[in-house]
């Protein structure tokens, strides 16, 4: 077995092993360290001799490393005694408890005591089973940065005494929202990279979808979990049409809709149906907007009135300047650029999106449609200066140049 085989087993087993070990030791940081030691050992020994049961080997080895670590910690002697008395120390995972333990692991990894960057790194590593190197590559950051984030995160969790359990009923919904937002952050970075020379990072978007599917399987009664999954599926459905052969972005209106991934659209619509059970939340509403696009044969034939309504609803449940801006775009399509410009100018007057390239991008587009070309050009050039994604920037500059 080679490195890729070890990584494959780890991808499947990491969450179960770290969850079971955390339950077993009561110490998330220790469990994670022990699990990582087991993977490191597998990378050395499996190429020489493959175990008959790789998953069992990883679990048993990680468990041994955890016990070694506990033995070394003399200060924790009482916990070791507790461990020795714990009836759940056989190497089999308790199937009735593992689902809750994996959920608990997600709640710990996305705990509000952690910085947003740490939540992302920890979730991808312990739940997603990615290596530090894979996370660093995905986010275009140095490996030591990811390592430092994970080390610091484990210390923060220990220092804050974060318990390994499902949040109490009263906090459950809010904490689940925290988990969903981590998955969403990973997804959006994959769907529109904030830096670098590529617009899309499908591999990162894929990790988010995988996490969202896991959540949907473990929390089937939570509509927003399905809403987020629907949003991810419907957005990735457009990926094949979103970039040209040279990697440059293609705007929605110019996309060849025949290139959309219709299997992903179907999966997204199925998830959206589950999300609609009790009225749509913020993710469900965004998914419904994506669904309106996905089921339209062209920009002209899109139900823009419906999209305006959905943005209005989204603005009520999750008010944000970005939602306002998107509503303006939809209004421009439904009722014309003049009304949309008024919304954008209001946003600028209240300075609610300072420094964002999105405001001048939309304003420039609206001015161009109103025939106010010199102003439009100035806005698009401003947008290009503010935009960090090289691919998007060149599109903005090209558009500005056409306005003479």
């Amino acid at each position: 077995m080679g490195t890729a085989d070890v990584e494959a087993v780890w991808r499947i087993e990491s969450a179960r092993i770290v969850a079971a070990l955390t339950r077993f030791t009561g110490d998330f940081g220790l469990a994670e360290d022990a699990a990582q030691e087991a993977v490191a050992e597998a990378l050395v020994s499996w190429p020489l001799s493959s175990p008959a049961d790789p998953a069992g080997w990883l679990m048993a080895t990680a468990r041994r490393r955890a016990i070694d670590a506990i033995r070394r910690r003399t200060a924790l002697r009482d916990r070791y005694a507790l461990l020795a008395a714990d009836p759940v120390v056989d190497e089999d995972i308790d199937p009735d408890r593992i689902d809750d333990d994996i959920l608990a692991l997600m709640f710990v990894s996305c705990h509000p005591v952690l910085s947003p960057e740490a939540r992302v790194a920890l979730t991808l590593r312990v739940v997603g089973g990615l290596s530090t190197e894979q996370i660093a590559r995905a986010f275009l950051i140095p490996v030591p940065t990811v390592q430092a984030r994970i080390t610091r995160a484990k210390k923060t969790i220990a220092a804050a005494g974060v318990p390994f359990e499902l949040p109490p009923a009263g906090e459950r919904r809010e904490r689940l929202g925290g988990v969903l937002s981590v998955v969403y952050v990973i997804f959006t970075e994959g769907a529109t990279a904030t830096s670098g020379d590529r617009l899309l990072r499908p591999d990162l978007a894929y990790e988010a979808i995988r996490l969202a599917r896991t959540l949907a399987a473990l929390q089937p009664d939570e509509p927003e979990v399905h809403g987020l999954l629907a949003l991810c599926e419907l957005t990735t459905a457009r990926f094949p049409a979103r970039t040209g052969p040279d990697g440059s972005p293609i705007l929605l209106e110019d996309q060849d809709r025949r290139r959309w991934d219709f299997s992903a659209v179907r999966r997204g619509l199925a998830a959206l149906a589950k999300a609609s059970a009790r009225g749509l939340g913020p993710y469900g509403l965004q998914a419904a907007i994506a669904a309106a696009h996905a089921s339209a044969p062209s920009v002209e034939a899109t139900d823009w009135d419906r999209i305006v309504e959905l943005y209005e609803a989204l603005g009520r449940v999750a008010p944000s300047p970005v939602v306002e801006l998107n509503r303006a775009v939809a209004v421009a399509m439904a009722s014309g650029p003049a009304q949309a410009l008024a919304i954008v100018d209001e946003l600028i007057a209240s300075d609610r999106l300072p420094g964002s390239h999105l405001v001048p991008t939309v304003r420039g587009e609206l001015l161009a449609r109103l025939g106010r070309r010199p102003e439009a050009r100035a806005e698009l050039e401003l947008a290009a200066r503010l935009c960090a994604n090289q691919r998007e920037r060149s599109v903005l500059l090209r558009k500005a140049a056409t306005l003479g």
């Binding site: 890729a4 990584e7 689902d99 499908p202 591999d203 894929y206 990926f239 025949r258 290139r259 219709f262």
Partner: protein, 138 residues
């Protein structure tokens, strides 16, 4: 993003062994599918009915010829598939090793290219797209 299909290839013997333990097989298969759902990798799965009930349309001649029963050699029969959304071929292989299977059966693993791998000027694709448009699927 590509996906991977696990194609079940049973033999008469392995199919008979499976049928002899059908209740246990169904239970373990259900558990296996649940595990794939919880891992976020399950996209689709179907099992096929007896190959003897199948029909073959053969395009060797000028007009398609229809015959009953399985096609060609029946030593290994295509009995069903799992479609997985995994990160690598190795991961597909690891899942394949966990499929509840009777001795003698085989699983073939094939890569399913993603939509983004379809060339942008593919005539067949354009035709399919036009068809979908005609059906109101877009």
């Amino acid at each position: 993003m590509p996906k991977y299909m696990l194609i079940m290839r049973g033999t008469d013997e392995s199919n008979a062994a499976m049928m002899a333990n059908i209740d246990e097989m169904m239970a373990t298969t259900r558990q296996f599918i649940e595990d794939m759902f919880k891992a976020g990798v399950h996209v689709a799965a179907e099992g096929l009915d007896d190959a003897g009930q199948g029909v073959v349309v053969d395009f060797s001649g000028e007009v398609p010829v229809v015959t009953d029963g399985p096609y060609g050699e029946t030593k290994e029969l295509f009995g069903g598939f799992f479609l997985l959304d995994v990160a690598s071929k190795e991961e597909a292989v690891e899942w394949a090793k966990r499929v509840p299977s009777a001795p003698g059966s085989k699983i073939e693993i094939r890569r399913v290219p993603g939509e983004d791998e379809v060339p942008q000027d593919n005539g067949k694709f354009v035709k399919e797209g036009a068809l979908r448009e005609g059906n109101g699927q877009i």
